[in-house]
Amino acid sequence: MTSERVKRGVPEGLWMRCPQCRATVFRKEVINRWHVCPECDYHFAMPARDRIAQLLDEATFEEWDAELRPCDPLGFVDRIPYHQRLTEEQQKTGMWDAAITGKGFIRGRPVVLGITDFAFMAGSMGSVVGEKLARAAERATQLRLPLIFVSGSGGGARMQEGILSLMQMAKVSAAIARHDAAGGFYLSILTHPTMGGVAASWALQGDITLAEPGAMIGFAGRRTIANTVRLELPDNFQTSEFLLQHGFIDRIVHRKDLRTEVARIIDYCTTA
C-alpha cells in the first residue's frame, strides 16, 4: 500500500496525475520507478518504507525505537485536537510518527539511517522525530557507523508541539555535533520538500549534502517571502538546483542513482 495523496481531482486508483508535466500516468509504473514520473522524472514524495527498500540492501534493515510514540503535551486544539489528528495520521500511514530510524547495509556497507516521511503530518518534527534522530546519531557514534538522514518536511517544525518542536532542532544538532567530533561521517539527503526548522538544523549539517532533483529546499515559505518583499521570485527559487548554484549542496542525484552514489561517497569518508 502506498500513501500517495490524491492529486488534483484524479482519484486514488490505477492512474495518477504528475504535478510537474500534468501527464496522467499509470500509478504502478510510478511506484516501480521508485515514485518517479516516467514522463518527466518528477520525484514524488516517497513513503519511508519504500525509501528503505530503495536505499538499503534487501532485508538488512533493523528498525530502532519503533515504540516511540507522540503525545499531546500542549493540549493543542486547532480545527481538531492534536491527539485526534495524531490518531488519524497513524491510521492513514501505519506509522506512530513521521520518522523511522535504524541500521542497515548499503551495498554491503553498514550504515545508520533516519528518514522523515512526508506522508505523516508533512514530515514535520515533533518530539518523537527529534528523539529518534538524536538516538540514531548517538548510536552511529557508538557503533562508529556512517549516519544518513533523508529529510522531507513541509513546514519543518510541528506547530502542535509548540516550542518543544523548536527545541528538537537543538537536540538533534547536539547529537550530530558529537558524532562529528568523534570523527563520524554524516550524509544528509534532501528530498522534496525540506523547509523551515528541518532545513535550519540537521538537514544542512551534513559533511556531505545531497539533494534529489527539483526538491523545494529553504527556510521561509514562498508565500511568506512574496508577501514580505513584494517582488517576483526567481523561477527556480528554493529548488535543489538553486541551492546547488548558490553553494549549499554538493551534488544533485537522481533517485535511481542514489544508492550507488551514497555507497561511493561513504567509501571516501571512512577511516577503516
Binding site: 525505537d65 516511540l68 547536539a174 511568506t224 517571502i225
Partner: protein, 338 residues
Amino acid sequence: MPAALPEPLPFEQDIHELEERLAQLEATAAGPDGVEAIRRMKRELLALKRERYAQLKPWDTVLIARHRQRPQFLDYVEMIFDEFVELHGDRAFGDDRAIRTGFARLDGQKVMLIGHQKGKTLAERQQCYYGCAHPEGYRKALNKMKLAAKFRLPIICLIDTPGAFPGIGAEERGQAQWIATSILEMTRLPTPIVCVIIGEGGSGGALGIGVGDRVAMMQYAYYSVISPEGCAGILWRVANEETKARAAEALKLTAQDLLQLQVIDHIIPEPLGGAHRDPREAANALKATLKRYLRELLPLPSTLLLQQRYEKFRRMGVFLDGPAATTGLTPATANGNG
C-alpha cells in the same frame, strides 16, 4: 511637565485614562487635600494594574513583548554594561544590523555580547529589518562566538526577533544553512553561553543564537516555534484579532509556559506592566541574572560545561516510550523529560 506616559495597549485603556487623570491631578492639586487625593488615586491605579497584569492573556503578553517603547538590545547595553566594543565583520558578505556583536564588560567581567536590535526610529528599524536577521548576521555571531571561545570569554546572547528575515537574498545566501551551522556550533562551543529572550523569541531566528548553558526569559517576553499570526493563518486560514489570540493561547509561548515545559531555566521579573514602564528596573533584574549565571558557569571546566549543555537539550521533548498500550495513546503517562 510630567514624564510622558507609555503608549497604551488595547487592554490598558482604563489604566491609561487613570494615569492621565493622575498626571493632571499631580500638576494641579495643592494642599493636604490634594496630597490625599493623589495618594488615593495612586492606590487605585496600583490595584487596577495589579489586577489587570495578573490576568494577561498570552496575546496581551505578545503585545507587551512587541511594545514600541520596550527596551531593546542597545538600551540594555547602555544600562548594564560598562563598555561595548562593537565588532562588525562576518568575513564574507556584509554587516547585518539586525544582529550586533562585540566585546563588553559586565562589572569588570569581560564577555562577548551578541544580540538582536530592532531599531527605534523608522530609519533605524528599516536598517535593522525590524530585528529580522539575514544569514550574514548569524555568520557574524558565530564568528564572534568562536573568537570568544578561543579566549574563554563567556557569551551573552540577548534575543529579540520576530524571526529570521524571509527574503530572496536571505535564501540565496543560505538562511537555513547559517542558522543550522550556528545552532550546531553553539551546542559545543567550549565557553559559557547565557541566552535571554528579552522581547520576541521568533522561532529559528531566535534559536540561531539561542543555544546556551542557561536560557532565561524576561517576564513578558514570548518564545515560539511560529508567530501567532503565522499559526493563525495556517490553522484558521485568516489572521485576525480573534484567531491570533487563539493561536497565542494554543502555542504556549509565555515565559510561564516555557518554564513549565522545562525549556527555560528562569523568568526574569519585569516592572508591573512591562519593561517599558521602568527600563532601569528591568535592566537591573536582567543584570542580576546575568551575573549570577556567569558566577555559576565560569568555574566549570569545559568538559563538564559541555556535558551539561548536551544533557540540557537532550532531555527536551515529550513522548511515550515502551510497548504501546492496547488502546491508542495515553498521554497522561507520557513524559520524555524523565
